[in-house]
Symmetry: C2
Subunit: 220 residues, 2 copies
Amino acid sequence: MQSFTEENYLKIIYHLAENTNNVQTNAIAEQMQTKPASVTDMIKKLADKGFIDYVKYQGVTMTEKGRNAAIDIVRKHRLWEVFLVDKLNFKWDEVHDVAEELEHIKSTALIERLDEFLGFPKSDPHGDPIPDKNGRFAKTQFTKLIELKIGDSGTITGVSQHSSAFLKHLEKLGLTLGKQIQINDVTDFDGSVEILILDKQINISREVAKHILISSNGKN
Amino acid sequence: MQSFTEENYLKIIYHLAENTNNVQTNAIAEQMQTKPASVTDMIKKLADKGFIDYVKYQGVTMTEKGRNAAIDIVRKHRLWEVFLVDKLNFKWDEVHDVAEELEHIKSTALIERLDEFLGFPKSDPHGDPIPDKNGRFAKTQFTKLIELKIGDSGTITGVSQHSSAFLKHLEKLGLTLGKQIQINDVTDFDGSVEILILDKQINISREVAKHILISSNGKN
DNA sequence: TATTTTTTTTAGATTTACCTAAAAATTTAA
DNA sequence: TTAAATTTTTAGGTAAATCTAAAAAAAATA
Ligand SMILES: [Mn+2]
Ligand SMILES: [Mn+2]
Ligand SMILES: [Mn+2]
Ligand SMILES: [Mn+2]
């Protein structure tokens, strides 16, 4: 059984490993909000315990054991987020920090019964997939809204930024999960995007468009 | 905000203070499953932070601040136990250890919404009162079953021992919360108690009888 | 009251997860 | 392909929560 800190490292390394082969010390330090020297200490420990493979100066990769441990934490995090939204009426921008704490509660029975209580949900309030108890989940194919061309349309199915500020902003714009959108225009001046949602045209910045994930229903 | 460890000390000191004026170092050590030397270190820290009053060699007493902090943790612990039993179908002997972890989750919003979700329960699965959000709760007047006389009757409304082994044993004997019982006889030989429950006569040991709490409906 | 026993505290270490500053390795650029 | 910049590691230290062994205080007993 791992400490809270070890679990947080594992989860962060797992997420970083989704985008790169060798996860770098500095990247981990940034995510953990700590110093590279501290990361070096910790990755040595995690390597000793067999959660990651580590070659000095070459960064780390996850072992099967590490990946399983990380997926288990991700599963807990996302199930708790569903609980908070579905049962306790939290908003999608209010759940992340509490789930960061709840994900460390150690009880297999608890999480399996919670899963059942929630009706075995397949995705969390931000559209992220929830691994089942064997760690399996559908790797959904998202396109970033920013990458769509004029005329393309699709459904909002996820976000790649979970900060409360960002999610509240989306909420205000009406850009919530399941909404249909269409790209009307892209402004030359600042790259901002004109989108059509429920027959209403709105303008969103590039920064916002980068973090909205679309399951496209056919390119233009 | 306190650390997990500080919260555990506060809760334990609070419970010990229910039975004695000055809580002793050794008593805390026993409950915390740690050594007296460690307790001395910690009570100095808690005293510095204003949670307890501490006079060297004289033991500790809780301050108002300490009591409030402790009651808040007790409230969380008991609400989570209700959640586990009422919503996730845990048995009353399975919830304590998980609640020991859940009680440390820091979110006022979470606990208030949980309270509401559960219908503002007044007592937990073991019959212990749940403080409201202002820390108020009814100090119920219990009698230990062992103290009743032959012919006395009453309702089981609590237990003073939360171990899984004890609670499973009670369950097997049918001695659960809300059950009506009557004292039929007390055996001279070993002090065991014959009780009548649902027209069935059973025999329970002194040790068991000590930890069953009865709200008596009239002495003999 | 003097002695023994018990309780509590102090002194000095250990472990975990951090830190800063400096050295070493790697990568990028000239 | 050398020099500069960046990344990573090491060395040495700190704070929290623990420990053991020994000293000090308080309580119980003779
Ligand atoms: Mn989250
Ligand atoms: Mn999420
Ligand atoms: Mn409990
Ligand atoms: Mn309880």
